[in-house]
């Protein structure tokens, strides 16, 4: 027979004024299994805890029920109390008679007392079935993985490496640097993006604790916090990185021209190329889809000319598997496809471009060497129209969210146009101007007041070509009239959207994403860089539209979380996880399909049946991965799976006790 102790807390008068605590304690005496029952003013205070400890030893209690506030508040407190009294902490159950009773039924003491009594009876019925549970520890692999080598990934890797931990960066493109490398100047200081990014790129590349794995993608993620097993596909670069000196001869002599992705296709690159001059590693890659050798089998100029004999057409993709203790996901963003806005004619009119095109147009190493020229005829535009919120804040055609960075980068673009083309006119169509950030509002004010950009509050309804000009027709809602502007170039402040394959990666690693495929943080306020999957953290725009300062801040925060994890030798795991009763399990695998953490696998056990040894398929729960949701327990028809601390028996006992 179990010996349960019941402790009713008054919480000062919080509970006692609505519930007759003494009576609840008296009633509890009669419940099966209760050996001791009492009430006290503050159970969570030192004397209250002492009271529990004393009762445990005096009355040889082996189970404890505390009826007080929400277990979300004080369950850890009372578990520790049990531990100090020599009891397993999981032999505690709590009845929530404050938030769920006293506070919501202040005017009906009789029925509140009855309810409190019944809540205690449920807890007693459950605790009788509680089993002692042990937190186990698992070793931690002391290496972190950062997925994505943009500014967020670089910052996270640097911070982790500087704390003394090993870290790998996996980057899909041939070079690290990401979107920031494409950007010309940064707001609100207008310092050159490359000037502040490239030193960081060099630093991370030269850091003894960092390994760059470029032109590679994560293909499979298994395991769990502390012990992720990640398969990485290193795409065939066709250039031996160890031999290549980066002299650039191959690129120079390559006969094939391909529109450059980095230059937003406004300039050509070669089929063997480095994406941009400051690329790291600054060694070329062969774009096999366009390379003449790979298409026709003829050419091979690069191989013939390479003084280091680094060009290797026979290279193949390689799959490598590495172990990591923690993962930072910093995969960045894509741009919204503006062509859904038929009225703007993006894709039809050459001079309607996105903000990222503009960044390249204004960049000194870009296709126009920094002179702003419009793409159609290379003329310097005099009238430039900017349209904000293209793809964002538009539930009908685009995304509902605010893309956050566009107000500021449009102000920056407006400033740059006015600075570079003295006799230019700049018009900005906007819905709102949002400038929360240090120095941002001031920057915007300068854009209008000092640089004379004309901000027009309203939407553009149509852009059409007439006589070599783009007629931008819109509404000025402040003046309440329609306006038409003869523009030479139109720049669309295009929304940031999640990466095309964002959902795929999230599913592969096993964490959640929102309706727009941005990654979901564990808590929007209190856990903004964690995911719900332990050991996986978020940095940068993969979690939502973000500018550079925010991305960097989040990256450093994620790095701290990683360091916290990697600085331990072993980590504790919650014992409230699923277990398999192999005797019952039929091995149907239904539990495997419903588990959100890929924590269940089917394995074979050996058994003797009819005198023969057979291999029988059964489910097996990985205690490191299981988070204790219990989905498998319901998927299993024969109840071969059970959830510790919330077992079928416990819940049925609670139901029975409640219905008495």
């Amino acid at each position: 027979m179990k010996r349960v102790g019941v402790f009713i807390c008054h919480c000062g008068t919080n509970i006692a004024q609505a519930v007759d605590c003494e009576k609840v304690a008296q009633n509890a005496q009669a419940f099966p299994g209760v050996a001791f029952s009492t009430d006290y003013k503050y159970m969570c205070a030192e004397p209250g805890q002492d009271l529990i400890k004393k009762a445990i030893s005096e009355h040889r209690l082996d189970r404890v029920v505390v009826a007080s506030c929400s277990p979300r508040m004080h369950e850890p407190t009372f578990r520790k109390c049990l531990e100090r009294a020599g009891l397993n902490p999981y032999l505690l159950e709590m009845a929530n008679i404050r938030e769920h009773c006293a506070w919501v039924h202040p005017d009906d003491k009789e029925r509140a007392t009855l309810k409190a009594t019944e809540l205690v009876r449920m807890a007693v019925a459950k605790v009788i079935q509680n089993e002692p549970l042990d937190r186990s520890t698992i070793p931690i692999t002391k290496r972190a993985l950062v997925i994505g080598g943009g500014i967020a990934g670089i910052q996270a890797a640097l911070d982790i490496a500087n704390a003394g931990h090993l870290v790998d960066i996996v980057e899909k493109e041939p070079s690290i640097g990401g979107r920031m490398a494409q950007i010309d100047k940064t707001f609100p200081t207008l310092d050159c993006s490359a000037c502040i990014l490239t030193p960081k790129m060099v630093e991370v590349a030269n850091h003894p604790n960092v390994r760059l794995i470029t032109y590679s993608e994560v293909e499979k993620v298994e395991g769990y916090v502390g012990n992720f097993e990640v398969t990485i596909r290193q795409k065939a670069r066709s250039v031996d990185l160890s031999a290549c000196t980066g002299c650039g001869l191959c690129t120079e002599k390559c006969p094939t021209k391909v529109p450059s992705e980095f230059e937003m296709e406004m300039m050509n690159r070669k089929a063997i190329y480095t994406p941009f001059p400051q690329a790291i590693p600054n060694k070329p890659v062969i774009d096999r889809e366009n390379c003449r050798y790979f298409k026709t089998g003829k050419c091979g100029v690069c191989q013939k000319l390479c003084p280091a004999q680094a060009v290797d057409f026979t290279q193949e993709d390689q799959l490598v598997t590495e172990r990591y203790g923690a993962i930072v996901v910093a995969t960045g963003f894509d741009l919204f496809d503006d062509s859904v806005y038929g009225e703007y004619g993006y894709g039809r009119y050459k001079d309607v471009i996105t903000g990222l095109h503009f960044e390249r147009l204004v960049n000194a190493s870009g296709p126009t060497m920094g002179k702003i020229k419009r793409p159609s005829d290379g003329q310097e535009p005099k009238n430039v129209v900017f349209i904000k919120c293209v793809g964002s804040r538009d539930e009908a055609k685009g995304k509902a969210y605010c893309s956050k960075t566009c107000c500021m980068y449009t102000a920056k673009h407006a400033t740059l146009v006015r600075e570079k083309i003295k006799d230019s006119n700049v018009y900005v169509f906007y819905m709102d101007v949002r400038t929360p950030g240090k120095g941002y509002e001031e920057f915007y004010t300068r854009t209008t007041d000092q640089y004379g950009a004309k901000y027009l509050r309203g939407r553009v309804s149509k852009i059409y070509e007439k006589g070599g000009k783009l007629i931008v027709r819109g509404e000025d809602t402040l003046l309440g009239r329609q306006i038409e502007i003869e523009a030479d170039m139109v720049v669309l402040a295009t929304a940031m959207v999640a990466k095309e394959n964002a959902a795929e990666l999230a599913q592969m690693i096993g964490f959640s994403y929102d309706q727009d495929n941005f990654y979901t943080e564990a808590h929007p306020k209190l856990a903004p860089v964690e995911t719900h999957t332990a050991g996986v953290f978020l940095a940068g725009a993969c979690q939502g539209p973000k500018d550079i300062p925010d991305s960097v801040a989040q990256a450093s925060a994620a790095a701290v979380k990683v360091c916290g994890l990697l600085s331990k030798e072993r980590m504790e795991t919650e014992p409230t996880i699923s277990i398999v009763n192999e005797a019952i399990c039929a091995g149907c695998g239904m539990c495997v399909t419903v588990c959100p953490y890929k924590a269940i696998e089917l394995k074979f056990i050996q058994e003797r049946v009819d005198g023969k040894v057979i291999n029988r398929r059964v489910a097996s729960v990985n205690s490191g991965l299981c988070q204790g949701c219990g989905a498998c327990t319901v998927a299993c028809r024969s109840a071969a799976l059970n959830l510790k601390h919330f077992t079928n028996e416990q819940i049925l006992a609670e139901v029975d006790a409640l219905c008495l």
């Binding site: 005797a583 039929a586 239904m590 023969k612 057979i614 998927a635 024969s638 071969a640 028996e649 049925l652």
Partner: protein, 299 residues
Amino acid sequence: MNEITNKMRKIAGEILQKGEASVVIGWEKGTFWYLSPPAFIDKVEDVDRLVWDDFCHNNLSKYLVDFKYKEEKVAIFVKGCDSRAFNRLLQDKQIEREKVILIGIPCPGLKDQDQAKTLGKEGDIPKAEKCLECKYPNPLVYDYYLGEKEELDEVAATKEAPNYSDVEAIEAMSPDERYEFWTKQYDRCIRCYACRNVCPACNCRECVFDQTCVGWIGKANNSSENQFFALTRAMHVAGRCIECGECERACPMDIPIMLLNKKIIKDINELFGEYDAGIDVDSKLPLGHFDKSDPEEFM
């Protein structure tokens, strides 16, 4: 049908002779002329016991579970419904495809054995109720096929669009009428579990209803426990039921069990899209996956 019986015996003989399988599961004549229970033939000389007639009701795939850990192959005759059951068992990982030799038989629909008993051999015995609405009379998967290919096309489905009029009739009742209806049905239940034992969707190693220590269900035979049993079983076979109707045929108390199963099938189709269990081996079970755009009624 005699022709098929001959073919059955021939192919069973060949399979056993060549040692391709250690046992052939088929049907044989039972105690009465209107019963054709399962037969397990493991000797060539026994193949003449095999028959194919109007009463080969049993869903033979269910018995494959008993051979799960046997090393030797098993050969089995399958009608349309047996083959759906086979696919289901494959999906539930209870059997391995390569360990089974499937011999398909086109099924024109079987006859009602209770009616047969009353009407006698010469009587005009009607089709079994479960065969009146068969969507898949032909085996969906087989290694050998008894009968001509043309025949396969000829044996058309007797049901084109699903007919839920019986389910709808109950839905049209008031809650109290419905309760009364079902209480009347399940008050008869003697909890013999024949429905479970004959059901190919019930393939647990140990059924919850046999787990006395957890206390899922009481032993008392009363209305409440019987209904717990009925509803729990209905939920457990939800998305798995292949509509072979064996549960209802096996029920000694004539409880309309398929009325529960059909209700769930109807709801699954309406809520989560058309789904026929045991057709596509690669399909996911309706309760084994979800769609973010599933109907939302709980806001």
